[in-house]
Amino acid sequence: MTYSVQFGDLWPSIRVSLLSEQKYGALVNNFAASDHVSAKLEQLNAKDFVNEAISHWDPEAESDHSVAPSTACSPNLRCFTFARGDVSRFPPARLGSLGVLDYYLMDAASLLPVLALGLHPGDTVLDLCAAPGGKTLALLQTLCCRNLAANDLSTSRTGRLRKVLQSYVPQGIRERNQIRVTSWDGRKWGELEGDTYDRVLVDVPCTTDRHSLHEEENNIFQRSRKKERQMLPMLQLQLLAAGLLATKPGGHVVYSTCSLSHLQNEYVVQGTIELLANQYSIKVQVEDLSHFRKLFMDTFCFFQSCQVGELVLPNLIANFGPMYFCKMRRLT
């Protein structure tokens, strides 16, 4: 990887974090009987970082008064993490009285794209590359989805997605929410369901840098997979384009990856916006998330120099990420 060029002096810190055990967050399952869960997690010395961020927001300090965090962030999400420098691990989740697990362990940074998407009650939501299902579950946890379409190209992966939903969402609610799971080609969504959704999440396949650094075999960075790697930004662009086409005019899209590479991040966003303008005459505007970033600065390490979007950098003290996300609004 040539990230030393992209990140300079920051790279050694990032590298050592990628090669060391990552940190997890416990996403509370709102569908379980969960009051005691928060207490249990607090007893372990973990804190709900979402709540911390929102409650510490100082309206006086913000120059931009128009956006309150309550509207900026998707609601009802509770995710516990251990403090900076604390390497404790969460015990595995337990089955509650309703037959579902009490929390879902995930990279806490993965919650940020869902928070940033800013769901409102009654939204129709599309998760274009949904598997294995962490972010899909988070979307459901907001309790805002009128219906949720979850898709992933691979059938084995959608199998996992279904299992996650079964483990966390009681059957009744699953039916009520009209959750639809499909295994189609995400790139076709513009034709399949154009102009349909209020909120779209495009969490694309990427080089999964954290795992790639560990794996010797079949590593995406090895020479034999060079073509695949070079094709990746193209695939990502096509998926984001499809996601935007599937959004209602006025609707919002969040694009996210777990890669550090600006070729997979900013370049894709900028390329897609250009493509939509040129080929479809559709105007898309990037939404500034610097305000959002400030909310979560205490929990995550953010890269300060993204051209568009935000990037969570892994750091030993807060070993979350990498997670890149960018919010867009389809104007026309």
Binding site: P12, R15, A93, L101, D107, R160, V164, T208, L316
Partner: protein, 354 residues
């Protein structure tokens, strides 16, 4: 009475002992010692330096004699059955020790250690150390620190001494070892052999290198031989350190934990690379002295260029990793990697419960 005579003699250094021997009959046993001293004295007067003589100066003589007198009268417990023979033997021992260069205070202390050997035994023991080239002061310190040495059978000490000489640890090289690792005399021959064997036959150090290692890093004697071998292998294979440098940098002095912490940290930061088969790296590795021989603060500032906070967390994570490695090795489990996981950014741990 005695004292006056001594004081009167203070201008005549070389003849003090001789005079005394004549004037004080109960120091008769001194004659033998005195004779040998005389021989030394005559050689001195023929051109040899006074430095060879164990005698120091007039004042010292007075002190020595006074102290000697005190010693003789203050140590009744040291007396065995024969009341007549013992004081003389004790005096002889004291004198010999003085000859060797021990101070009165030290001699006093050494003789007072309880439980202790007989004076003769003490002398024999100390003589072995002196003959191995260790100076009186370090011998005193070592014995004071590790009184268990005093109770070793002299035969064992002689045997061990000759073995150590064979290993090249005579001529004063033993001082450091004796100080930090007195067990080198008390441990079983078999155990010393094992350590030497590991260094020579498993790690393939030369004989001179083994001597140097024992001399500079005597702690190796305390280590489990297989752990010692593992430490070497870590340095040689994992870090690419050659034999010469393992010796030169006193690599064995550092605990494996410290070595791993600092090395793995640098490696993961991208600041250290294991040399390839040709011994080459793409980056210039930091010098070993800048990795191990410096304080943690300096290491972080100068070599790792990282913060203390991050290093603290890293050490905790590394400890957890080592624990898990050990427990998984002992259970002989193999972790299977789910292929799908390569594309996942979320860790789906709860799947295991289904």
């Amino acid at each position: 009475m005695q004292n006056n005579q001594v004081l009167g003699l203070h201008h005549h250094i070389p003849l003090t002992w001789v005079r005394l021997a004549k004037l004080t009959p109960h120091l008769g046993e001194q004659k033998r010692t005195t004779a040998s001293l005389l021989r030394k004295l005559t050689t001195a007067s023929n051109g040899g330096g006074f430095e060879e003589l164990p005698l120091v100066g007039p004042k010292k003589c007075v002190q020595q004699l006074q102290c000697q007198a005190n010693l003789v009268y203050c140590l009744p417990e040291k007396q065995g059955t024969s009341v007549d023979g013992e004081p003389r033997r004790l005096e002889k021992v004291v004198c010999s020790l003085l000859d060797m260069g021990f101070s009165d205070a030290h001699i006093n202390e050494l003789l007072s250690i309880q439980p202790g050997p007989s004076p003769q035994q003490l002398l024999d023991l100390i003589s072995e150390f002196i003959l191995l080239g260790v100076n009186p002061e370090p011998v005193y310190v070592a014995l004071k620190q590790s009184p268990q040495l005093l109770n070793l059978p002299v035969v064992q000490v002689k045997k061990r001494s000759s073995y150590l000489r064979k290993l090249g640890l005579g001529e004063g090289k033993l001082k450091r070892v004796l100080h930090s690792c007195p067990e080198i005399f008390t441990m079983r021959q078999r155990d010393v052999d094992e350590v030497v064997q590991v260094l020579k036959e498993k790690c393939l150090f030369t004989v001179q290198q083994v001597t140097e290692i024992l001399h500079r890093c005597p702690n190796v004697l305390r280590e489990d031989p297989s752990e010692l071998e593992y430490k070497f292998q870590y340095g040689y294979f994992r870090m690419g350190i050659k034999h010469v440098d393992v010796v030169r940098t006193e690599f064995f002095k550092y605990s494996l934990t410290k070595i791993k912490q600092r090395h793995v940290y640098l490696e993961r930061l991208g600041r250290y690379q294991t040399p390839d088969k040709k011994g080459q790296t793409q980056i210039a590795n930091p010098l070993l002295k800048d990795i191990l021989r410096i304080s943690e603060a300096e290491f972080l500032a100068k070599t790792a260029c990282s913060s203390a906070e991050e290093f603290v967390v890293f050490k905790k994570l590394l400890a957890l990793e080592e624990e898990e490695l050990e427990s998984s090795m002992s259970e002989e489990e193999e972790e299977e990697e789910d292929e799908d996981e390569e594309e996942d950014e979320d860790e789906d741990k709860d799947e295991e419960q289904l």
